[in-house]
Amino acid sequence: MDRIKKRKLLSKTLSYYVVFGILLLLIALPFYYFYYQRYYIHEIDEYLLGQKDEVCKKGLNTLRVDEIPLWNKFNIDKKILPDDGQTETSRFVTSECYDEHEKENISCRILYSRIKIEGKDYILSIHLSIYEAKKIIQFGTILHLIFFSILLIGFVIITHLLYKKLWRPFYQTLSEIRRFNIRNSEIPVFHANNVREFSQLNKAVEILIANSVQAYKIQKEFTENASHEMQTPLAVFQSKLDIMLQQQDLSESQMQIIQSLYEATSRLTRMNKNLLLLAKIDNLQFLDTQDLNVVEILDNLLPFLLEQAEANHITTTIKTGNKSLMIQANRTLLESLVNNLITNAIKHNAPNGNLSVELEQNKLVVCNTGTGKSLNRKMLFHRFGQMNEKVKGSGLGLAIVKQICVQYGWDIAYDYENGMHRFSVVFG
């Protein structure tokens, strides 16, 4: 979607108008030019016919052959020519003729017709200059072109000016929506405007936002309620175990049952806590960030984690160096990420395996000895995606890690190489 070039609505609209305008211009101007020319010539032809009829009716029957030169002398646009037998008659011809005023050859429309003077055949030629007419048509066409262009340019300018004014409510709404943050559950107030479409848009967005805020609130409440509802029975269960443990006459086998129940409740508690944590990360409830030094966080967390590794007979290698690595994040989330990665590497380690935690530049790498094969990359970061019957995890550890990385735009990668599972997080 991003590859599609985004253009302003204005230029999109205008480009259609401009293309239409130019096309119209290209078609209309030649059409105008040629149509007017044809119409004009038709009018001239009618005039020439009229002239011929008039000449024939009045005077030609009284004209004598010896008077022809004299007649020709007084009629500038009419001539009586001897019939050479080759001139086509009763036809209009456009041709060049010599003009006395302009002293040059100009375009004329000529009508030749056959007449009889004293029984002899003659050709009557009547002509009219179309030179001026052509010029007028050309001038008109140019005027048309100029006005049309002004119209088009004016249209573009006015649309530009109008666009800013007309779309102002839209941009106001847009900036309100951009400023909207569902976490503060503030429903934005849109400016009133007198455009029906924008009013409708504002109304629709208001409803949409109100619904989202409501849904977000319900989800948050649900998270809290679910937490309460699940934790209370868990608390009852655990407290009863604590009470039962105080009994004086418990046998060893009864104690073992109690121990199993303790383990089950603690696993249930852990799942509940992790589900809540995930829901809270999803709900963006960990928004407050601070400058954190990853080296410092590791130094705080590692003693306890290494103790765990030692209890599981795991050999550990730590390479954090003395440098500091500052990042912007929420402390709870960063600690959770580190804890989850390292405890995973302890829990899923092979007997007498190795664990290494390395910090290189802006990358945290946690490796542990695997049990022979690569993990399913597709399911690895899914909730309950990589459940292992032997290791009783909550099934949510890596989902939490992934979710934290998504929130901060960190890259998380998994590799399997030389029998080692390798998780690396690139900060920033």
């Binding site: 209370t232 868990l234 608390a235 209890a311």
Partner: protein
């Protein structure tokens, strides 16, 4: 020692009352907001255990009332609302401690122990048990005038056991106490055993009677005074 438990979940309340009663506390129970207000105005308590979600009112406003009356009662919030906001709000209004459900009875026991001891012996930070003298400020332990050098974990462990003396403390509770928020990530609680072993060894070396810490079938431990 008088404790008021404000908790609407009857079964949980029963367990807490039973556990605390056996530790020589006089524990009263209020299941509703109104009942709790009534008791607070009528009697004085050394410690109040407060659930935030009550059927007829908000625990936080109860805490506010309590602080307005300037009662010196220590307050521990016990809540299913584990969110940081509530914790901060509660402590801000004047709660002394916060425990989110579910919690171990022994953890509750040691918190109450610490709270009451702080209130009563504010100038005295020494506790004694079975001949051991523990300085809480300097975190030093003495037996027969000689210091028993303990690690931080071992010291915490000892205090936890003494705070729940004569009660069986489960290995789970100890693991969670020692590791704080991280405990719920691990299944293996062998590290508790290792610390207990070290603590026992150090006490034995100092000449202390080694019967003080009793192991209960690998499920829990007990400090016998």
């Amino acid at each position: 020692m008088k404790i008021l438990l404000i908790e609407d979940e009857a079964e949980l309340a029963q367990s807490i009352v039973e556990y605390l009663s056996k530790q020589d506390y006089l524990c009263e129970h209020a299941a509703t907001y109104n009942n709790a207000i009534e008791r607070i105005t009528l009697y004085d308590y050394d410690c109040i255990l407060l659930d935030l979600m009550l059927p007829d009112g908000d625990g936080l406003s109860l805490l506010e009332t309590l602080k307005k009356e300037k009662k010196k009662t220590g307050v521990i919030i016990i809540s299913a609302k584990g969110s940081l906001d509530d914790r901060i709000k509660g402590i801000h209004i004047g709660a002394d401690d916060y425990l989110s459900k579910p919690f171990h009875m022994s953890e509750l026991g040691v918190r109450i122990y610490a709270l009451i001891r702080r209130a009563q012996y504010s100038s005295n930070n020494i506790i004694t048990s079975n001949g051991l003298t523990i300085n809480l400020l300097s975190k030093e332990v003495f037996f027969n005038e000689e210091e028993v050098v303990l690690t931080k974990k071992e010291f915490d462990l000892l205090l936890f056991l003494i705070g729940n003396k004569n009660r069986v403390v489960s290995k789970n509770a100890l693991a969670e106490h020692l590791s704080g928020d991280m405990a719920d990530m691990l299944d293996n609680q062998d590290f508790v055993y290792a610390h207990i072993k070290n603590l026992k060894g150090k006490l034995y070396k100092a000449g202390h009677n080694n019967d003080s810490i009793k192991t209960i079938y690998g499920v829990g431990y007990k400090w016998i005074e």
